[in-house]
């Protein structure tokens, strides 16, 4: 149950409800309409700065909703190391916005000083487990909290990979002490692109390892599925979601929409659908 602190700001764990990804085009509508969603999730990097309209909007929204901060730029699997300045900014954002969850991706993002501003795929090797787990551990120590690490969409697989993706994620969680954020759409996209079985992926993860679920839409470009977060969640992903919460229990579930962003009510409608599924599976009030 979400509780309010002495200022009336929601604190405590994020409830097992559906939330929405907060994007700047919806700042105004979220503040005015106060949609009945369980929580908000914001991209950490969009609120890195000392001031400005975006920071003020999130501070205001934070007084009404529990918050999850979701990083897209740290790339903790980068073999060149952690960008310390970026990590320091994440810590500042945590101090300012007091999120209940903080997540990053199982990916890399920079090499030779250049950042590619993308969630780039890792080879599933023992060395990559070691590098990602060590850097997740260092980040957790510096930030003073447990991170959730999310599986990314993949379009290619490294020839060097020796582990299945879920074995890789479990090993990283075991060695670093992080939890997992399971993106069901990413599992579906990667499975379709690389000829894998998404149900086997879900069934192979330990029941207690997952703390949050992501849902989003994807696009098709010829034979390739592109994780563009630009449309509604597709039926196949809703089916996988049912399967996932049957296995992992009721979990905070986020609907992301980053391109061709619709009116807020459409996004909230997707979150309602996730809440109905949570309710049906676990007898929760939707």
């Amino acid at each position: 149950m979400t509780r309010l602190d002495t200022r009336g700001v929601p604190q405590g764990p994020i409830p097992a409800r559906a939330g929405i990804g907060l994007r700047s085009v919806h700042h105004e509508a979220v503040l005015t309409d106060r949609p009945a969603v369980g929580f908000l999730e914001a991209h950490t990097e969009n609120y890195f700065h000392e001031g400005g309209a975006a920071v003020r909007a999130l501070l205001r929204a934070r007084t009404n909703y529990p918050l999850s901060l979701h990083g897209v730029g740290l790339g903790l699997g980068s073999a060149d190391g952690i960008d310390r300045e970026h990590l320091r900014r994440v810590k500042n954002a945590i101090a300012r916005f007091e999120p209940a969850l903080v997540s990053e991706h199982a990916c890399w993002g920079h090499a030779g000083g250049e950042h590619f501003n993308d969630l780039l795929p890792l080879p599933y090797t023992e060395e990559a487990v070691e590098v990602l787990a060590r850097q997740v551990g260092e980040a957790q120590d510096f930030l003073g909290l447990q991170l959730l690490i999310e599986n990314v969409s993949a379009y290619v697989a490294f020839e060097h990979s020796r582990l299945k993706e879920w074995e890789f994620l479990c090993a990283v969680a075991e060695h670093s002490g992080c939890a997992l954020l399971l993106d069901v759409n990413n599992i579906y996209v990667s499975s379709q692109n690389l000829g894998l079985d998404p149900v086997e992926f879900i069934d192979s993860l330990p029941v207690t390892s997952v703390r949050e679920i992501h849902l989003a839409g994807h696009a098709r470009n010829g034979a390739v599925l592109i994780d563009d977060h630009g449309s509604q969640v597709c039926e196949a992903v809703w089916q996988l979601y049912r399967h996932a919460i049957a296995r992992f229990g009721p979990l905070p579930t986020l609907v992301e929409w980053d391109n061709n962003i619709p009116a807020l009510e459409t996004l909230v409608g997707e979150a309602r659908r996730a809440e109905r599924i949570l309710g049906e599976a676990h007898g929760l009030a939707a």
Binding site: E45, F48, H49, E50, G51, G52, A53, A54, V55, R56, V72, G73, L74, G75, S78, A79, D80, D83, E85, H86, R89, W108, G109, H110, A111, G112, G113, E114, H115, F116, N117, D118, L120, P121, L122, P123, T125, E127, A128, V131, Y155, V156, A157, F158, E159, H160, N193, N221, V224, I226
Partner: protein, 246 residues
């Protein structure tokens, strides 16, 4: 077996040059990644420089973005900083041509981007001067809003910026001469305002830490215009602190 670092550097080479090889399957799908990072970079630039994009059109902006990225790749996981060197790049890229003024237009847009992430500080009213003797005024140093940016150009770029707030605005006559002005954040909005050259020189002097007396001298400001300018600075909430320099 290649190390993780070697694999990532090989992947990075393939992101920069689609002809470079990388040990991944299916090979045909590798192109998704360079496409994505090219588009992400360009969209971040477009978001910061919408008026430059409007003036040059999508095709030329795409070309500018690609050449700029070769010279100034992203150095941060925070895309906000992608445009930091764009105006300087345009100075060189467009040197000697008829579109040199685009660099100064980009300076206005970068100033807006910087202002938009700078915290606003509480400001002083003109009564903040009340406790000081009149003869002390010339030794006064003004702390101005941290979001204030001052941009001067040999071209009428403020007029270009203002007339291009909508798509398909007509071209602006570039023989209109130099313009200068200020950019600042106020109540979550970013203001862009033209200043006359004396006011610009005076505010620039104050902003760089000169005393009121020195800023007036540098700007060749006549004493009779001082009252109006000080009134403007205070009423606009631009003055955040006052200190006397001994």
């Amino acid at each position: 077996m290649a190390s993780l670092r070697e694999m990532q550097h090989a992947f990075a080479a393939a992101l920069r040059d689609p002809a470079a090889s990388c040990p991944v399957l299916p090979t045909a799908n590798l192109a998704v990644y360079p496409n994505h990072s090219t588009i992400t970079f360009r969209e971040a630039l477009e978001q910061t420089f919408p008026v430059v994009r409007r003036r040059v059109g999508d095709d030329y902006f795409r070309q500018l973005s690609a050449h700029y990225r070769q010279r100034f790749p992203s150095r941060s996981g925070d895309l906000h900083w992608v445009g930091r060197d764009f105006a300087g790049f345009l100075d060189e890229y467009l040197a000697g041509g008829e579109y040199q003024w685009l660099a100064d237009l980009a300076r206005i847009e970068w100033a807006r981007a910087e202002s938009s992430i700078t915290a606003e500080v509480s400001s002083l009213g003109v009564d903040g001067l009340a406790g000081y003797a009149p003869e002390a005024l010339e030794h006064m140093v003004f702390g101005l809003q941290p979001s204030l940016r001052l941009v001067a150009s040999a071209y009428p770029v403020y007029t270009v910026w203002l007339t291009n707030q909508a798509e398909n605005a007509p071209p602006v006559d570039q023989s209109g001469g130099h313009e200068q002005g200020m950019i600042r954040a106020r109540h979550d909005l970013i203001e862009v305002r033209k200043l006359d050259s004396a006011a610009f020189a005076f505010v620039s002097g104050l902003d760089s830490g000169a005393t009121l007396g020195d800023a007036m001298t540098t700007a060749s400001l006549e004493a009779r215009t001082l009252t109006g300018l000080l009134g403007f600075l205070f009423s606009e909430g631009l003055v955040c602190s006052l200190t006397l320099r001994e």
